[in-house]
Symmetry: C2
Subunit: 423 residues, 2 copies
Amino acid sequence: MSDLASTTAPAASLDELEQAHADLVAAGLDLDLTRGKPGADQLDLSTDLDGIIGDDWMLDGVDTRNYGSLDGLPSIKAIGGRLLGMPATNVLAGGNSSLELMGRYLVHAHVFGVGGPDTAWNRGQPKMLCPVPGYDRHFSLTEHLGIEMVPVELTEDGPDMDRVEELVGNDHDVVGMWCVPKYANPTGITYATEVVRRLARLGQVASDHFRIMWDNAYAVHDLTDQPDYLESIFTEAEVNGTQDSVVQFASTSKITLAGSGVAFLGTSLGNLAAFRDHLQYFTIGPDKVNHLRHVRKLGGSRAIGDHMAAQAELIRPKFAIVQEVLADGLGDDGRHGHWSTPSGGYFVSFWSRPGLAGEIVDLAARAGVKLTPAGAAFPYGDDPDDSHIRLAPTYPAQDDVRRAMEVFVTCVKLATARADTTS
Amino acid sequence: MSDLASTTAPAASLDELEQAHADLVAAGLDLDLTRGKPGADQLDLSTDLDGIIGDDWMLDGVDTRNYGSLDGLPSIKAIGGRLLGMPATNVLAGGNSSLELMGRYLVHAHVFGVGGPDTAWNRGQPKMLCPVPGYDRHFSLTEHLGIEMVPVELTEDGPDMDRVEELVGNDHDVVGMWCVPKYANPTGITYATEVVRRLARLGQVASDHFRIMWDNAYAVHDLTDQPDYLESIFTEAEVNGTQDSVVQFASTSKITLAGSGVAFLGTSLGNLAAFRDHLQYFTIGPDKVNHLRHVRKLGGSRAIGDHMAAQAELIRPKFAIVQEVLADGLGDDGRHGHWSTPSGGYFVSFWSRPGLAGEIVDLAARAGVKLTPAGAAFPYGDDPDDSHIRLAPTYPAQDDVRRAMEVFVTCVKLATARADTTS
């Protein structure tokens, strides 16, 4: 452990902590734990995508170089189906961004209507349920569309289902719900099977055009050899006849290349046909050449598993450093807060003592460590407890993760000590 | 010339033409002149895009493999700027589809408002001017958005500007206008300099949020060594202080790979900032890896020109066959209609005697030759003269273009002879 960390030992006084922080500010660090970006070493695992095509540009009998195939060809849909746990025929393969597909689906539902103009959400006063803490880009997109966001607590097992069922069943202005069901951004929890089953039954009591936006971004992003298990919501929805109420999303952005992957949408055949009817006005088809590259790389039965195991080797030490520095610096008595210990995904959540998150993020920024703004994981940026901070350790090198976390610990202890002094 | 063509000599009787058509139906051809798709030989010119990256994935100092760069990096913007005739800083580089960028811009303007919600076109009863004949996908997109389309005649020099100026100046519900200014889809004409200048001045009399959608899809798609000249509308707009009234689009879909190119949007810096503000909710960034590939291939000062000259070598004979079969089969007396002789682009327009286009397309379909539906080049599919037919000769092989055109000539003559008989 470095000198900086040793100055943040639990017994340090307020004065010592203020001095430690001042030293860090003077040191002029420039570290960044804000975004869930893969590290360069992870991306190196996929540079064989360039040159993977060779002389054969055909996929499923189609010349990938030309126009067409609005929802992608069968072989790339099959990869999406494996990520989403559903048949390939229910899947659309798109461009490089699942966020773009989510936004497009929401515009389809909100502005145009999944069943025609009379069913457009914007005819009423639509609301979406937002488990919190959650993914900031889901929330900013929803706000941009003018859809009201209703926070719901995210527990260790998933969203508070008693509350969700009450809201969805009693208020048909609730037209949708965001879910990141596995290794959730940002807490890292995975929805329990009973939660998935209850979510799959919501379609029985919800508004006709209610949609669960099921963003399974971390479906295969295990960090341990005992990965979390996620029940297939598609199978559960089929059992309950509620297939139309679930729209799933995934991408290879955090499997192959972050900016150059393939995004997928999977849903009922009826929903898919309606979405295609909308999409056809906006594009002739996706980049099938990039689809071909991904089929070549990920199409084998063990390819995704082997590839993600190699990724985990690179990410796991960084998550271990986060846990180590937090435990060493803050102890386990909860006095300085608590944090998640995810088995996969890209994030660790930290909860400070209430009222201190904004101050901690500000202290860290002044000490040269960028963190996601406090409150970002909540609709309208409003964390009512001012407690949650998202940590994203994948992008920096291991040494930088350690230094950034040591700074973070110092800032947490300083903010806590200040609060102790004034209270 | 083949046997089929010889049976369609100008002097053939109605009975002979009916028999010739029946023979074609029996022959069971399967030919397609519907879409402006590049031929496989054109695509072969760009297969070096796979493997072009090698070991260096950086572009302008940025790792193209990771997230980010919402509107693309400077080097790819520069290529867009060359296609659009404007500075790179005014350009956004996007995904694989300029139609997608157009649709996104229209959703931005129509639903969200280029200057905030109060400026959204859908607050009123918006109309767009549509030079006809025009591009069917522009019109279907506009109709899908619920924007009324007002047809304006496209002359040999561009849109009928007297009519355009009257409509734009007197009716502020006219919020936009479609233009394909060079080698226009489908007639192949290029807007005269005076027309470009008058279009650039529309912003002085138009509604504040009026936008010309300038789809310069064929900017570098010359077929002869005396290419048409298109004045830069950006420069003209700058002179008149109307930069906000023009949004330009282009792509490399018909330069490199049709399904895997790079699309561009170019406009005033103010418009670009507003569009970025909208776009940021829907995507983290475009496929920068594909941008890098295109910078490597097209970045040299002569690269685009040399590449398009090679394309022209492949396309020119097909356009020559169209002209030859039409002239040989129909003569030049206008009795069977007339057609365009473009110097570039992807299409030839044919105008039958009024009232016959639908019948000719139907006759051709029964004889195994698919043509774009009659009326497709008009808003709501309504060609008031039932006269225009779009011919797209790039995709089939030369022999197939000839056979398809011979069938077409037979169908034109048969429909004309039938009309002569009943009149």
